[in-house]
Amino acid sequence: MRKGVGISGLSRHTATTTSYASLSNTISTNQLASLQTSLDAFRDALTSFAIAHRADIRRDPAFRHQFQKMCAAIGVDPLAGSNGGGSSSSSASGWRAEMLGLGEWDNEVALQVVDVCVSTRDRNGGMIEVGELVRRIDKMRGGNSLISPEDVYRAIDLLRPLGSGYSLKPVGGSIYIRSVPRELDTDQSTLLVIAAAAGGRLREAEVKRNTGWTEVRVRTALEDCIMREGMGWIDEQAYGGRDVWLIAAVNFDETSSPAMHPD
């Protein structure tokens, strides 16, 4: 195309841009309309599926998770999702609550999440690994209708509007639930990563080696874990000095049968 110069060139350019824009609008609108139609169809299908399998969805955590993934994929239920993120949308969760009768179930799980987080806060400083949280909730529910980490994530999203400050915190390979509104600073998150790899135990020298921090910074971070956050426990009888244990990273096995004491 000949490059337009002068006033006429400019106005021709404007005209071209305008017509392109209107064309793209038309296409988008058409596409949107057809998408909307297929979405509606899909939603209908999903609804009848949900109604047919309501019992399974409530009972089986794996099934429920699959179903939620499907919903999330078409944006029907933005609350679902393995990252636990996403904003809450009342119409979508309303659909979920109405069609599935899951609203009550969700609230129940959310309450149990709060219950476990609050009742273990004294010992873990408000930091609990999702696996442990799930185990404790399952125990609380008496073993029927097990829950999955995804249920916990959704419960936490459900709690968000209450401003209760529950949040997810990925540390190392695991996800922790933080139930006090204060953010962990990065130093403490780093400590948690190191502790998680060592069964919960932190040694000043090891932390220093791992992080390259100064001694003062290591000490302050450890001290904060103990005194400010309440998630660190001191062991003063450690061989060769003082250890700090981050209880959230310790694996307490309360389920398998007890070991025999050598004495």
Binding site: G200, I226, G230, D235, G240, W245, D253, P258
Partner: protein, 226 residues
């Protein structure tokens, strides 16, 4: 040089020693210090059949915690543990200064002890909560405690029921007969120390169901039940 510095030096000497380190370092210390894969802490059953919970194998459990809310949780855990352990072992008294006050205070497999100072704090906390009592009542510093895995009024009731079941009502029994006689052999209050027995009987006296009769000396005392 402080003890902790000394032991740090010991560690560095040992780890520089190469192949001979196992000779210079105690075996247990070496195994405690290897880079451990995170193993879960499990409950442990003692030789006498008591099940120590997993927290008992958590090393910091044996250090009283500086954070007040952590400490309060820790003292609750300890209180419950000591009470259930004492009940299992039928341990009526604890002495904070004893070198081996009881297995619960010393986990040999992780080499941790509740040291006398911490034990004092724990027992005085238990006394405040009504789960223990200084005996004798005035001690400086407070050292020996009765452990109430059953409260005196529960003991009183138990003794009263036992007396009635054996048709011993209205007869006078010496303290010794109650706790050490042939008939009490299978009871939980067998060999109960006299101070605790006295407290238990006093709860019955208050209810008008027993009377303590002075004899000569402690074991000479007796009681009558109605």
């Amino acid at each position: 040089m402080s003890i902790s510095q000394a032991s740090k030096n010991l560690v560095s000497v040992a780890s520089n020693a190469g192949p001979s380190r196992s000779l210079e370092r105690p075996r247990e210390a070496a195994s405690e210090h290897r880079e451990n894969p995170p193993t879960p802490l499990r409950a442990i059953t003692s030789a006498s059949g008591f099940v120590f919970p997993a927290i008992w194998s958590f090393p910091p459990f044996f250090t009283l915690q500086p954070n007040p809310s952590t400490l309060s949780h820790q003292l609750t855990l300890w209180t419950n543990l000591v009470l259930s352990w004492a009940a299992h072992e039928r341990m009526f008294m604890l002495n904070c200064d004893s070198p081996e006050p009881g297995q619960v205070f010393h986990n040999k497999s992780i080499k941790r002890k509740l040291l006398p100072g911490s034990m004092r704090t724990l027992l005085s906390h238990m006394a405040q909560e009504g789960h223990a009592a200084l005996d004798p009542p005035k001690q400086s510093p407070p050292t020996t405690y009765l452990i109430y895995w059953r409260k005196p009024d529960e003991w009183g009731q138990m003794i009263y029921d036992w007396v009635m079941d054996h048709g011993l009502a209205t007869s006078i029994m010496t303290f010794y007969e109650i706790t050490d006689g042939d008939m009490s052999e299978t009871t939980d209050f067998r060999e109960m120390p006299v101070p605790l027995l006295r407290k238990s009987l006093e709860t019955l006296v208050k209810k008008g169901r027993a009377q303590i009769i002075r004899g000569e000396g402690d074991s000479g005392d007796g009681a009558r039940f109605f």
